[in-house]
Symmetry: C2
Subunit: 455 residues, 2 copies
């Protein structure tokens, strides 16, 4: 009996000891982050001192310079830039827009969609056709659409528990609405803002034109504005909509990913990335999208360094450029990695807001997923219950081709679309503890991958 006990002890003591050591170190990670965290004050600087950071803008360049300095000051082993060419779209003067029904003019808030062309200098005014789907538009056909402004008014579905699912179900209107409308001869496309609730702020975002279709101007209207327009259309189908915007696409600009690195002590050639994207839309301050993810990523390396942790693998914080309207940073990073023969075993991205942590979505092999899911009990005490197959992140996506396992940090999604791509995405929208818990969660996951690998 004794021998069996000894045998059992030998069998189980090693992993139990490791599990316990992991548990203790993860507790230290949270303690350091919650008691002496720096992400919140860094984010204050990035959002309030630097502000919006659309690719190609002066703000984006300032953010590149400042985050490079920040990581240098934190004493990471190596900090470097990766040059990428990025689209350079500018909004121009503030948009104007109103609904004209009989003698009544009703102003409604709009924001040009990123990538859209301008209206004629004097604006465009036309009758309005409201649709909820592309199929409806097709059924109306050119006869009823030609010369009109198409109003895409399908709301995000409020019954989806995860708001990103609701976003996925509506965002084609923003991305492709103008192209579909132009096919049938429309002169403009107005898209209901991607928001679950009703508010007065327009939500911008990227759109693209398919080739061979006329480029017509397109803008997002606030959800309350959309409700108003829809209601007035019912009362007077002959009303007109006016809008004026002067946005334009300038020549591509030179920009950079910013990379900070702590070199691995045992397997320096295996790299683990943690990142977010440094660019933001030009409205607001890009606080949740995605200043949070960037500052959390720098915090991951700072915390490990502060705890005296020597990573086995090389760990990198990457501030990707141009997620919003081109993904040139993410594509460029994967290219550099491939050309440099670098082996990235895992990449973690935070680009769903600085909210309270829920878990991680995983893109990888079955055994990588199983390995990560075996850590559930270590992470559950910190509210990380949703660890399983999911999505990684736009910027780290291109690394998947080379077999990198992707981990998308999954904060609570309920408030994200209150701020997303709007003037409301400001520092004040960030809760310090929520931001810090996200950073600590990313640190804990990175630590486990570094310690145990994914195979």
């Amino acid at each position: 009996m004794k021998y069996i006990l000894y045998a059992l002890l030998l069998l189980f003591s090693a992993p139990v000891f490791a599990q316990n050591a992991d548990s203790l170190f993860i507790r230290q990670i949270y303690d350091e982050t919650l008691a002496r965290g720096k992400a919140y004050e860094w984010l204050r600087h990035l959002t309030q001192q630097i502000g919006p950071r659309l690719s190609g803008s002066a703000g984006a360049q300032k953010a590149v310079d400042w985050t490079k300095q920040l990581m240098e000051k934190e004493g990471f082993d190596r900090v470097f830039l990766q040059e990428v060419m990025v689209p350079h779209w500018v909004r121009g003067a503030k948009e104007e827009s109103y609904i004209k029904s009989g003698k009544q003019k009703t102003n409604v808030p709009i924001a040009a969609l990123g990538g859209s062309v301008a209206t004629p200098t004097k604006g465009v005014e036309a009758g309005v056709v409201e649709v909820k789907t592309f199929k409806e538009l097709e059924e109306l056909g050119a006869a009823k659409v030609k010369g009109k402004i198409v109003f895409f008014n399908r709301p995000m579905d409020p019954t989806k528990i995860n708001t990103f699912e609701a976003y996925a179900g509506a965002v084609e209107q923003r991305a492709n609405g103008a192209t579909f409308a132009a096919k049938f001869g429309a002169v403009g496309a107005i898209v209901r803002s991607m928001a679950v609730g009703l508010d007065d702020i327009p939500h911008t975002g990227s759109m693209r034109y398919a080739s061979g279709v006329p480029l017509i101007p397109t803008a997002a209207i606030s959800t309350k504005g959309a409700e108003k327009l829809s209601q007035l259309l019912k009362e007077n189908p002959a009303l007109t909509f006016f809008f004026k915007q002067s946005c334009e696409t300038l020549p591509d600009a030179k920009s950079y990913n910013v990379v900070g690195e702590i070199r691995g002590s045992e397997k320096p050639d295996e790299i683990i990335v943690v990142g977010g994207h440094l660019d933001s839309w030009d409205l607001g301050q890009g606080a949740h999208d995605d200043g949070s993810g960037c500052m959390q990523s720098v915090e991951v390396l700072r915390v490990l360094k502060a705890l005296g942790y020597k990573p086995k693998r090389t760990i990198r914080a990457v501030m990707f450029m141009n997620e919003e309207n081109g993904l040139k940073g993410g594509i460029g990073y994967a290219d550099y990695a491939k050309k440099g023969g670098e082996k990235h075993i895992a990449a973690i991205e935070s680009d769903n807001g600085g909210f309270t942590p829920r878990g991680f979505g995983i893109v990888g092999t079955a055994s990588e997923k199983a390995k990560a899911m075996s850590w559930k009990s270590l992470l559950a005490p910190y509210g990380l219950h949703e660890i399983g197959p999911g999505s990684g992140g736009a910027d780290i996506g291109p690394l998947a081709q080379s077999g990198t396992a992707l981990f998308g940090f999954k904060p609570d999604s309920q408030r994200y679309f209150d701020f997303h791509h709007t003037d409301a995405d400001r520092f004040e929208a960030i809760n310090k503890r929520e931001l810090e818990l996200g950073a600590a969660s990313m640190t804990a996951l990175l630590y486990l991958i570094d310690q145990h690998g994914l195979n």
Copy 2:
């Protein structure tokens, strides 16, 4: 072989069918609540039209009248009041306070603690003794404390993941600080606000005097004020603190619990309660604490009614009075239940804010806990992962004596102490979806208890 299959089918089909029916109905609960929820607009009225509702105040009475009407309008089977006598404390004029160091006066924001006596009409000014624990105070003893103001400055521990744990570790300063200080001859007690972060708003809350000790005035100072006072004390230990407050305790007042009921169709004598407390502190509007819980509870009954659900058991929404400074409503409700020979099988309380749902804490027998935990897979798709032993709720607490199983709704705790007992606890601090998800979670749990019981 066939026979075995049939036998297996017979064995398993009933529970599988039930599980599936539950899953479908719970989905309907969330759909109804998220697409046509009313709790948010009701809460707007309760907070913005009625406002603060401290026990004994005109606001509390208005809230009683309005919630009674609301439940009558919703057509519940029976709506009634339960009379209770409640403490009636009033704040009086706005408090004044400053730190005086040499010739320099620094104003700092304070709020009298609920139950405190007033200062002398001209205020009180005295030297300050700062402590972090009662033990420190004891060690100083009367020699160093007599004639002074004791400043209790132990912060909530930011490294606790659940902020309620941090609250539990600090709140004795607020509850009993004045009593401890008075024992050693202090003339006042100033307590660091119960907040994890640093801000400029004082957090009020209840305190009590032990018998046989002089009643000295006590107030909460904002966390930034506390940091300032601590810093200035280091520079000048001889500084003085001045404060003036005119609060008083009036004779007990008559008030009410408000109860709405849908009668059970199969076991009407078994009652399931869902509730929150209708009273609030006099600062702010009592939005998270606890207008949310009240409006969510009414929504639970509305949603089940809207879905045409006929409960087996009798279900009640209870708006408890006087949770904040006496618990007379909770005690009274349990008394009425006992005297009426009512059998309460379960009670659910929402009094931790209208934030995104995490789970339920359970107080009950092992088998009741096991039964509730067997529903985990039905609730996990809605973010409810934390279902297990925990705390129920102050108002439903007294029901435990009669064997009622208690369920404390557990929303995410990160932001709660940004608002708790302050002027910032206003309607604007509520996110519609988070509030609704909470209501739907409570409805789903109540539905499962009603369908399957707890044994």
